[in-house]
Symmetry: C2
Subunit: 536 residues, 2 copies
């Protein structure tokens, strides 16, 4: 072997085997995170926002470097240009999106997971991780459906069945649920070999329907639109049912929509209830919707990506009453199970439901194997179920109950603060731990309600711009963070822009919430916002 080639090989072996020295840059970062992750994030993420265009300049080269770079050199780049300019999603004042700090044990367990590098598509690359994941799905199944104890043993580790599917997040979970529902609706029947085999157009021809539809409230997550597109249903047939004043599906409107579908010979494929709307944290009337789904003979899916863990709470579980009648339920682990990003689940009441999407291959997923991949949308994927298993085991039902209760109570406190403040308007009452509000000066509030529609619209358009700027300035300042969205406001008979707050981080204090409002009041004094307010 020539000397050059040998030297190259030795370099390569070193890259794969020699750990980072603790005194190196990367070793020091690693140690700092191990010692005090909150301190590390606080120190290394720069709060004040740099314009995205400036950051982009650091990531502009499209040529893969020819020569290797020293790890230390690369790490310095990452520290300065990536970490510093990332978002402190675990900050107690970051109450605008569905991220939170997570329990400290998640970090070392996540490292263990990375080191083990299991691939859960098949037993041959995951072994004990396969039964562990199946147990996690069974635990969630039990939490939701409360089947009797003797229900589980025949199913939990049964290769012919699955109580659900683990995946990268709620979107894949929702898509998987509707995929299963679609394939069950168009199951093999006589000469028709099923939609999986023959496709959607032939399935419709076989059954004589003009189309199939998914019904969800106007607050349904955008992933359902993706699902309708992906599954060939078409977004036109994602029927967005209007909501009542509490952002819950209006049952009269639902029945109306069903009648329209029937008239058009469109078969309802699935009715989707939401347990924790993304924007307002409301829960659909699941019990009544289960009745409707039963009448329609259609799949009842509950998107509990956000609100599912409310089931841990003895005090608030009743808010989700009816979820146990669902055919499938989505729960995100990276939300209120406090697992790091990239873990979701869909659970099916009927353990044989997933056979509608079963698939095999010659080299893995063979018939009769226990490979998890024969019932999942994804193929190769990591064993993140360990982190859910750890959360459920270490925090326990009561620990999660405490987290849920804390969030809901903090949302009530925040709502109270907003209500008491003369210059804010609460635009949706918190049912779980999400609320929306907007800045609306005291002097404007009363006249706005009694104004003529055109005048209302003019003022609201200006308040929308104020809202947008408040959210933007607050984000840029980087001390606290709320998000924004647009909601229908029945009192103005139109859509308005609102600020949105999600209260799931247990480290968020009431004092921080008071600061959020104080900051917003300071921000509205800025000239660009004052100019808008003067036009009202």
């Amino acid at each position: 072997m020539p000397n050059k080639a040998r030297a190259d090989l030795e370099t390569l072996y070193r890259i794969f085997t020699v750990p980072e020295a603790p005194e190196s840059t990367l070793g020091a970062i690693d140690q700092a995170i191990t010692d005090d992750v909150a301190g590390f994030l606080q120190t290394h993420i720069v709060a004040t926002e740099r314009p995205l265009e400036e950051i982009e300049a650091d990531f502009a080269s499209v040529v893969i470097p020819e020569e290797p770079t020293y790890v230390s050199e690369y790490t310095e780049f990452v520290q300065e240009h990536l970490v510093a300019q990332s978002v402190h999603t675990a900050a107690p004042g970051f109450v605008g999106h569905m991220t939170s700090a997570f329990p400290y044990f998640m970090l070392p367990l996540a490292r263990l997971l990375t080191a083990l590098n299991q691939n859960l598509v098949k037993v041959e690359t995951s072994k004990a991780f396969t039964p562990m994941e199946r147990q996690v799905l069974a635990m969630l199944h039990h939490l939701i459906f409360r089947c009797p104890d003797d229900f589980y043993p025949p199913w939990i580790h049964n290769s012919q069945a699955a109580l659900g599917a683990f995946c990268s997040g709620g979107t894949i979970a929702n898509i998987t649920a509707l995929w299963v529902a679609r394939n069950r609706l168009f199951a093999p029947d006589g000469n028709f070999r099923g939609i999986a085999q023959e496709g959607l157009a032939r399935a419709l021809r076989h059954t004589g329907y003009e189309g199939i539809a998914v019904l969800v409230s106007e607050r349904g997550h955008y992933s359902l639109g993706k699902a309708a597109d992906l599954l060939g249903i078409g977004r036109d047939q994602l029927v967005r049912v209007p909501t009542d004043d509490h952002n819950r599906m209006d049952l009269h409107a639902l029945r109306e929509a069903c009648r329209r579908l029937q008239d058009a010979n469109i078969r309802p494929l699935a009715l989707v209830g939401i347990a924790g709307t993304t924007e307002t944290g409301n829960v659909d009337p699941l019990e009544a919707m289960a009745d409707v789904a039963q009448e329609l003979g259609c799949h009842f899916h509950v998107d509990a990506a956000w609100g599912g863990p409310t089931l841990f709470s003895d005090h608030y579980r009743h808010l989700l009453a009816g979820i146990e009648r669902a055919d499938s339920v989505t729960i995100d682990a990276h939300k209120q199970l406090y697992v790091p990003m990239g873990a979701g689940m869909v659970v099916f009441k009927d353990p044989t439901a997933v056979s509608a999407i079963e698939h095999h291959a010659a080299y893995i997923l063979r018939h009769g194997s226990k490979d998890l991949g024969s019932h999942t949308l994804e193929g190769s994927r990591p064993g993140k179920a360990l982190l859910v298993h750890a959360g459920l085991s270490i925090i326990g039902r009561k620990g999660y109950e405490l987290l849920i209760d804390l969030g809901i109570e903090r949302a009530k406190t925040f709502a109270q603060l907003i209500r008491q403040h003369p210059d804010f308007e609460l635009t949706s009452e918190p049912e779980l731990n999400i609320l929306t509000y907007r800045y609306c000066p005291a002097a404007v509030q009363k006249p706005l309600i009694t104004a003529q529609p055109e005048e209302q619209a003019r003022i609201n358009a200006l308040l929308d711009q104020v809202c947008l700027l408040v959210q933007k300035h607050q984000r840029e300042a980087g001390r606290t963070f709320v998000s924004r969205t647009r909601l229908h406001a029945s009192r103005y008979n139109g859509e308005i822009t609102v600020l949105r707050s999600v209260l799931a981080n247990p480290l968020t204090t009431d004092e921080i919430l008071a600061t959020v409002l104080r900051e917003e009041c300071e921000i509205v004094r800025q000239p660009d916002i004052q100019a808008l307010l003067h036009q009202i």
Copy 2:
């Protein structure tokens, strides 16, 4: 606040904030992994396989524990029942699936990623991670398509476009590619508002086609079947074109298949070329297939999940000639980019292609935003692109070239070992770094070739069972590992079971490969296998 409630809260805060003491069980594991991950895996994973049914007993309870558990207690459980019974996928003798050891810097960077907990669906929860991911996709785009330098600046950070999509793995990547292809084929046209809006049945009615088809060789990955099902196309229309003796698509058979589709008024949606078949590592005749796709006017997708990184090698890049004419290409980062599990990419030649699957929401992904989520199948997802960015930067083009060259050369060495051994039969020559073979005693080899078809079939059925048992016993012994699959063998005019070896771990030595064969020779001496061999 009552004392009990305060105590609970304090416990909760501690769980979220206090790091694990280094002397604790979890702290010790964490440190051991940091100090010497290879040593940790070697020590803690029990090589000999326990029956899955026994392991399942440790994961049988479906009740979520009421009370919290001590982290140390839980960690001991995990160490004994999960880690010990997981699979040592990084072992140099684990040459049966597509996992490998990975460079040491991936571990601390993965911890950094977990700690930052960015969500790449939107800029508001990822900031610098968004341009970083866009750069990674651009680098891969440049690697594949070699567009001129001035092509990239207008597109790389353009909110209206995307050079590709990052995702959890090759399956989602392939599905995304075909989803884009399908929606582009049925784009809005006159009164027809496009398939995304109106669905597949109306799209077919509008265009007058009886159906749409995806063409791929018989060696195509099973994810394409899932895609055909999910997208409403139907598995019947995933046309599996026969291969030549080197597991590459047979071009005559392809043209034959196209004619049959035309006769049936079925429109070819996409032609899929494979750059590294999963089972045999062969590369389709991409150049010729690009010509056919052009004639058909259909989307040309290349599934380079495995073989894509061959493009790093000056010596072997030519094997993928024609890939630059693809419309989309899948590359898995958790395969030959040596990133931990759960990272894939699809790259589109035309940066506007993804607009066919664009979606928006009111609270994120707003029109004009740079949120990555408006062009991805998944929603919330982690910033794993960092690990690809790190690999490309630290290992560099030349480092990856070395890895690729090493794997291909090692496969050639292994093939030579098999060929030289009297009792083994090489069943597919390695083109990249995958090969298949089987145990076939010297005394059987020659008579088998000249035997009558029925006798051939009888003997091969016995050899299939031998192959299955060899693979099973070898896996259970836990020293080395190869996988198995079934392949068409033209010399026997039928399918046979074969052992499959993937040579991507740079720590695998020639000596280990010799051991693999030696072990297999020992295994065949076991009574169950001898009994089969005596029947030949």
